[in-house]
């Protein structure tokens, strides 16, 4: 009897996801080294799929289709390398960034309004001030446009190996040629070092896209970056570099995210 023959019955139960404890552990260990049983497991799942097709029933309610399409339309198309099931909780900055941007806009509008009251007495100074506020407003608007752009691509960068707590997300818009990057749970960097973000183009060498140091909580945000013209990104990556940045990566990739 070949080594894997004794797993025949259990392999079926494993395919049914109904094997637990030591039996499950034993078969998972066996599967790691037995290509024949891995292949058989895939075939068993296909058999189980056929068995499922024996079910008959009504069409799902029409509202279900509408619900799905609404949810899809509301959810930015994401690319995550290791999104657990169910969908993971968003990072703090993803939750608060739109709200912060809106608060910022409200704050600026209020500032402009108050400034307008004082303008009767400060016309000369106000011109300059308004220009600065308008520039800030435009800046925030640009960031908001990037976040809400229909073609904004979100790329999550995750550790290549465990532990996987640190994470990063790059958001870029090909049409706006702009990008931003946010990271969380990043370890503190050594003295004189910083993390560097790289755009990995479909052809050519990695392109430096800015350096950052995480705050005391391990979070970092890089906003208002311009995507190099004519570059088609296939991935984003993070390495540890000297704090002024490097022209090319000099250390192993810590986080990486592919653009599908």
């Amino acid at each position: 009897m070949k080594a894997h023959e004794k797993f025949a019955d259990d392999l079926t139960l494993y395919a049914l996801n109904e094997l637990a404890g030591e039996e499950r552990l034993a078969i998972e260990q066996h599967l790691q080294t037995c290509a024949s049983c891995r292949r058989e497991l895939e075939m068993l799942r296909s058999d189980l799929g056929l068995l499922g097709l024996s079910s008959s029933g009504p069409q799902p309610p029409a509202r279900s289709r509408q619900r799905l399409m609404r949810t899809i339309a509301a959810e930015p198309r994401g690319v995550s390398l290791e999104q657990p099931l169910p969908a993971p909780k968003k990072s703090w900055w993803q939750e608060v960034m739109p709200a912060l941007a809106i608060l910022g806009l409200v704050f600026i509008v209020m500032s402009l309004w108050r400034t307008d009251i004082r303008r009767k007495d400060e016309e000369t100074g106000l011109v300059t001030h308004n220009q600065e506020q308008a520039a800030q407003l435009d800046h925030l608007n640009q960031e908001l446009r990037l976040l809400t752009s229909p073609d904004a691509v979100h790329v999550s960068l995750n550790p290549q190996k465990s532990p996987r707590q640190p994470s990063g997300t790059a958001i870029f818009s090909p049409s706006q040629k702009r990008m931003m990057f946010m990271a969380s749970n990043m370890p503190a960097v050594p003295q004189g070092k910083a993390y560097e973000l790289w755009i990995i183009p479909t052809t050519g060498a990695p392109i430096p896209a800015g350096v950052f140091k995480p705050d005391g909580h391990g979070n970092a945000v890089m906003m208002d970056h311009t995507m190099p013209s004519g570059v088609e990104a296939k991935a984003f990556a993070i390495t540890l570099e000297k704090e002024e940045g490097s022209d090319k990566p000099t250390s192993p990739i810590l986080l990486m995210g592919l653009v599908s």
Binding site: K2, H4, E5, F7, A8, D9, D10, T12, L13, L16, N17, E18, A20, R39, E40, L41, E42, M43, L44, R45, S46, D47, L48, G49, L50, L51, G52, L53, S54, S55, S56, G57, P58, Q59, P60, P61, S64, R65, R67, L68, M69, T71, I72, A73, E75, R77, G78, S80, Q83, P84, L85, P86, A87, S260
Partner: protein
């Protein structure tokens, strides 16, 4: 392990399915809509049969298609058929929900291989009839063991307790039941 008949290879595996998945990968919502129209009934039917609750089955349906939207690469179309893959995922998700446990199987780890082409509704209907005929021809005890395991999510121990049969007998019935199904499609 006894020689097991191999399923017929996937025919053209679902070139259309793969085109749809490629469009979904590019963020095409219309492709998602088309895929839903093609396979929602399959996913929903499995979930409804397992859960016996329309609302819960609808939730499973939503969850599975959202997972596909988020992770279109989870399905490897070069090896198996999308309909069979979705049916398996639906069954597993529904059993998880029935047992009120966290999803135990990552859809990216649910690799399948082989199986008949199922993307066309007419072909799918033929396959369904064939599966039902295999089940109808099966020894009633064997069919019962298979259905208890698949649709009711009972463990082999629970089935043995329920039927009064030895544990080994239940294991073998489930395995040989699936072998019969595969043999019919390999013929």
């Amino acid at each position: 392990m006894e020689p097991i008949p191999q399923s017929a290879p996937a025919r053209g595996n679902s070139a259309d399915d793969m085109k749809l998945v490629a469009r979904i990968r590019a963020g095409d919502q219309q492709a998602m809509s088309e895929l839903y129209d093609r396979y929602a009934k399959v996913v929903y039917a499995v979930a409804l049969r397992v859960l016996q609750d329309a609302s819960a089955a609808e939730d499973v349906l939503q969850d599975i298609f959202m997972q596909l939207w988020r992770k279109p690469d989870a399905f490897d179309g070069s090896r198996g058929t999308l309909a069979a893959w979705l049916a398996v995922i639906s069954r597993h998700r529904s059993i998880d929900r029935l047992r009120q446990r966290r999803p135990e199987l990552n859809i990216e780890e649910c690799m399948i291989a082989g199986g008949p082409d199922l993307q066309d509704e007419a072909e799918r209907n033929l396959v369904v009839e064939k599966v039902r005929s295999v089940l109808a021809e099966m020894n009633p005890d064997q069919r019962r063991a298979l259905e208890l395991a698949y649709f009711e999510g009972l463990t082999h121990t629970e089935i043995a307790e329920k039927t009064g049969e030895p544990l080994g007998t239940i294991k073998t019935r489930i395995r040989t039941g699936l072998q019969q199904l595969r043999a019919k499609f390999a013929a």
